[in-house]
Symmetry: C2
Subunit: 142 residues, 2 copies
DNA sequence: AAATGTTGTTTGAGTGTCAAGATGTTTGTT
DNA sequence: AACAAACATCTTGACACTCAAACAACATTT
């Protein structure tokens, strides 16, 4: 038996609101770095993955490899990313951050941590723990 | 005194994960409607606002009015949106959904409700209420 | 009435996106 | 070994999104 509609509707609205605010926050932060949002997204995923192939990066980002080719080209030109040939599969490259890319990634990661601290600052330890537990359940559900 | 880094880091990671999943869910749903993501976003905002001027719509969406002009053009061509002259300010239009646009909006809204029901299905009533309360605090904080 | 500000449109340039086709590589079958 | 099929990436062409700057029409202020 599902919860009454009003409860679900309220939660839905709150999730959308949270999403919108995170989105515009991210947009503002990224803009100040001089990169576009998709470019920063690429940096973030590569940064979290150490190194990966075009195909896998494309899949994680939900774009085609054709889209990625030119994106990686530009990030490479800016010295943030580098392609190195795959050791055993000569069709593939491994994409990884350069030092400059690492710095940018770290800085952006710090921004995320600061935001998280800020928005949870009004929560008690207990509430934080509850929130984290619920998030884990939800994420596992999706 | 801030929470220990590990807690904040965990929450930050969970928020990012939630955001990413909502993002890819939305992308999939929108794709099946034949519209682009920014187009559907426009429909959603207009749908929630009844009617509003280009300038206000642009501000809510975080884009310039120049960007909006062509977007509204295309949505108008598809019969989803309509411009009507502002009664007192002859520089402005009021943007509103057509019936067809309303239908699309309602359908998409239903998708959101279904997703919300799904992802909160493993939560008890109490957990849902806690979650909602925490979201309210966080959103108020941003 | 004139100056200034605002609203929406247009234009030009760059980026993001995909589908389809091309190239070189690997894997599987014969 | 030779061939075919599958694969990873890149290229190309077409279109959408985005902005900044310039513009026209209208509103507000002085």
């Amino acid at each position: 038996m599902p919860a009454p509609m009003t409860e679900t509707a309220k939660l839905s609205h709150q999730l959308i609101e949270l999403y919108e605010r995170l989105s515009s926050w991210e947009q503002d932060v990224v803009k100040s770095s001089g990169l576009s949002t998709p470019q920063m997204h690429t940096i973030e995923i590569v940064g979290h993955s150490d190194s990966l192939r075009m195909k896998d990066l494309a899949k994680k980002m939900g774009v085609t490899t054709g889209t990625l080719t030119v994106m990686v080209d530009r990030l490479e030109q800016q010295g943030l990313l580098k392609r190195t040939p795959h050791e055993t599969d000569r069709r593939s490259y491994l994409i990884a951050l350069t030092e400059k890319g690492q710095e940018l990634f770290s800085e952006h990661h710090q921004y995320h941590l600061h935001l998280t601290e800020e928005i949870t600052s009004t929560l008690s330890r207990e509430e934080q723990a509850q929130f984290s537990a619920v998030l884990e359940k939800i994420i596992g559900q999706m």
